[in-house]
């Protein structure tokens, strides 16, 4: 009876949710198939074409629309995201591991770490730029911006790992020690394989957050731009559908990342998985 009313309401709600989530992307995708080079970023579609996709890869005859200056910034962003991912995940795993035993001041340190994702990005970026200037340090995407990215993404990796280790059954580690296996080897052979699904999630968080980080990078990165900055830069002049085509491609790239993540996840869950079942018995 109740569900007769509730169900349609929920259905509408979910429909709206999906519309707002994917609406922009759908509009973007449609417009990216606009005719070129005369067609602009608006409806109606004059004629369907893949012109702007070819334009991105320099496969079209030269026209009044300049090619997107994304090549280098894309490489930069990917490199930066990778560096950030590795650093934040390593730090996240190590610090979450430290939090398994209560130490003096652990509460304070916890908030100190989490602060990194709470402080507004503009402030962190600006602050980093000011500190760098005062100390005479040159700003680069791989130095100052990298640091702000780590400060920003490390708390996410930390929280993910904290949640994973929180429900980790420590008796398998004790079992390993009691078989004569030292802690370092125990971590490598027992703990790490079992928390690997969590490590994957932490890596995904760190990578994607860094990859499209804008506000911190804006101030902290110096002369060479990362991809989000470069895209923003093109908006300032004139928008052509090639930006949309590029957006579609990067989104597809993100989806492929997610697919890789999902595949690795199912593999490791199948492999390491049933620790939870062992816990249930206890």
């Amino acid at each position: 009876m109740e569900s007769r009313v509730l169900k349609p309401v929920l259905a509408v709600y979910v429909g709206l949710f999906i519309l707002f989530l994917y609406g922009p992307f759908i509009v973007l995708t449609i417009l990216s198939f606009q005719q070129g080079p005369e067609g602009g970023p608006q409806f109606p579609i004059i004629e369907w074409s893949t012109y702007w996709y070819r334009h991105i890869f320099g496969l079209t005859p030269p026209s009044r629309v300049a090619p997107l200056p994304f090549g280098e910034s894309l490489i930069r962003s990917l490199t930066l995201a990778f560096m950030t991912m590795v650093t934040s995940t390593v730090l996240g795993v190590m610090s979450a591991q430290a939090f398994r035993s209560k130490f003096k001041g652990s509460g304070f340190v916890f908030y100190l770490i989490v602060l990194g994702m709470m402080v507004p990005g503009v402030l962190t970026g600006l602050g980093t730029a000011l500190v760098a200037n005062t100390m005479g340090i040159e700003r680069h995407w791989w130095s100052t911006a990298f640091v702000t990215h780590v400060v920003y993404t490390f708390p996410f990796a930390f929280l993910v790992m904290l949640a994973i280790l929180n429900r980790f059954d420590a008796s398998v580690e004790e079992a390993s020690w009691s078989l004569g296996v030292p802690p370092m080897r125990t971590f490598r052979k027992v703990t790490f394989p079992l928390i690997f699904p969590g490590v994957l999630s932490a890596m995904l968080f760190a990578f994607t957050l860094s990859y499209d980080e804008f506000s911190r990078t804006l101030f902290a990165s110096g002369r060479d731009q990362t991809l989000p900055l470069a895209i923003y830069g093109t908006f300032a002049v004139e928008i052509h559908p090639n930006v949309f085509a590029f957006g579609v491609l990067t989104t597809l790239f993100s989806f492929s990342l997610l697919t890789v993540y999902a595949v690795l996840m199912t593999m490791s869950v199948r492999r390491a998985g049933r620790a939870a079942i062992q816990e249930d018995i206890a």
Partner: protein
């Protein structure tokens, strides 16, 4: 002589100041099967974990084969632990689990394989050696945990409620396997449990613990028949306990004045006349006679007290009779069917009798 395991004045105080284990003293000979028995929170697991090295020792010493091991890390101690949830490595096969401890020790591959195969065979795990433990039964998991621990040849095997996760039927058969295995290997086993039936069935000696202290260390039969503290008397078996004052004491036999008349039992420790004491009578030591108006005799070491049959419960050959006492309490008397027969029905006035050497008098 050197003992396999010695705990000398071992104490554990948690960081917040709560004492968990107080002045624990125990000498264990090689090949003994020792059980730590007590209610949860009594300190038995903490003591075991101190032996394993998972908990620090606040005071006292732990020695294995005469060597002080207080400061050794868990992986340096010649102990191995079995956990209640088995703590198997879910990402390894059964063989991988068993092989894991030998892998680090630098044992040559050929010898390692031989040992692992031998252990898998001994515990009947060869068929499932290449499977992962997750899909195997509780009993099989238990045996994997045993194989994994025994293959590294520890001096002492520590078992923390190892049967707790098994269902009742399986528990019985694993219990027997465990006992046989321990006999064959001759390794010292230290076993923690809160189930007295396990402790009584398996161990050579039982350490009864309560609130961090040892209450009694005895062989199972002695523990059952000669409890030395009131806690043990209440915790082990099904005893009738009456409080009273000492009327007279001579030659180890003490007579108490109780609400149920003068009752005699043997005393573990000397008691002075007039002091408070309790008499502990095991349910199995009590016989029932029809009351024929005669006062209970205290002659030839037999005591008796009156009551009324409340209800009878027959389970197989054992009859459990609930007796209502004049004081309003009720007690349970158990015995073979042929002992009680079908002589009594609810409402019968009866006399409970027991021999003084079947009852124990404890101060307090």
């Amino acid at each position: 002589m050197t003992y396999d395991l010695q705990l000398s004045h071992v104490g554990k105080v948690y960081d917040n100041g709560t004492p968990a284990v107080i002045d624990f003293n125990l000498d264990v000979e090689k090949g003994e099967f020792i059980a730590f028995l007590g209610p949860s929170g009594c300190g038995k697991s903490t003591t075991l974990r101190m032996v394993a090295g998972f908990e620090s020792i606040s005071s006292g010493d732990i020695l294995i084969k005469g060597q002080r091991i207080n400061d050794l890390l868990p992986e340096q101690r010649p102990t191995s632990m079995i956990f209640q949830n088995y703590a198997l490595f879910p990402h390894m096969t059964v063989r991988g689990n068993v092989n894991f401890g030998l892998d680090v020790k630098g044992v040559p591959a050929a010898e390692r394989d031989r040992k692992v195969d031998g252990m898998l065979e001994k515990l009947g795990l060869l068929d499932v050696a290449d499977q992962r433990p997750e899909r195997l039964s509780g009993g099989q998991k238990q045996r994997i945990a045993l194989a994994r621990s025994l293959v590294v040849e520890p001096d002492i095997l520590l078992l923390d409620e190892p049967l707790g996760a098994l269902d009742a039927n399986l528990r019985k058969s694993i219990q027997n396997e465990l006992k046989l295995l321990q006999r064959n290997l001759g390794i010292t086993f230290v076993f923690v449990t809160h189930a007295q039936s396990e402790a009584l069935a398996l161990s050579d000696r039982i350490v009864v613990m309560n609130q961090g202290r040892i209450e009694q260390i005895s062989a199972p039969y002695d523990l059952y028949t000669k409890p030395s503290t009131l806690f043990t008397a209440q915790f082990i078996g099904r005893n009738t306990i009456f409080k009273g004052t000492v009327k007279h004491a001579e030659g180890g036999v003490v007579t108490l004045n109780t609400d149920h008349g003068a009752l005699s039992g043997h005393a573990a420790k000397p008691l002075s006349v007039g002091s408070n004491a309790s008499i502990v009578i095991p349910a199995e030591s009590i016989g029932i006679l029809p009351a024929n108006g005669e006062e209970p005799q205290n002659a030839d070491g037999t005591s008796g007290f009156p009551g009324e049959v409340g209800s009878l419960q027959i389970s197989g050959h054992i009859v459990e009779v609930t007796i209502n006492l004049p004081t309003g309490e009720n007690i349970v008397v158990a015995g073979h069917e042929d002992k009680f027969g079908r002589r009594f029905k609810p409402g019968d006035r009866v006399l409970m009798v027991f021999r003084s050497d079947g009852a124990t008098v404890i101060g307090g």
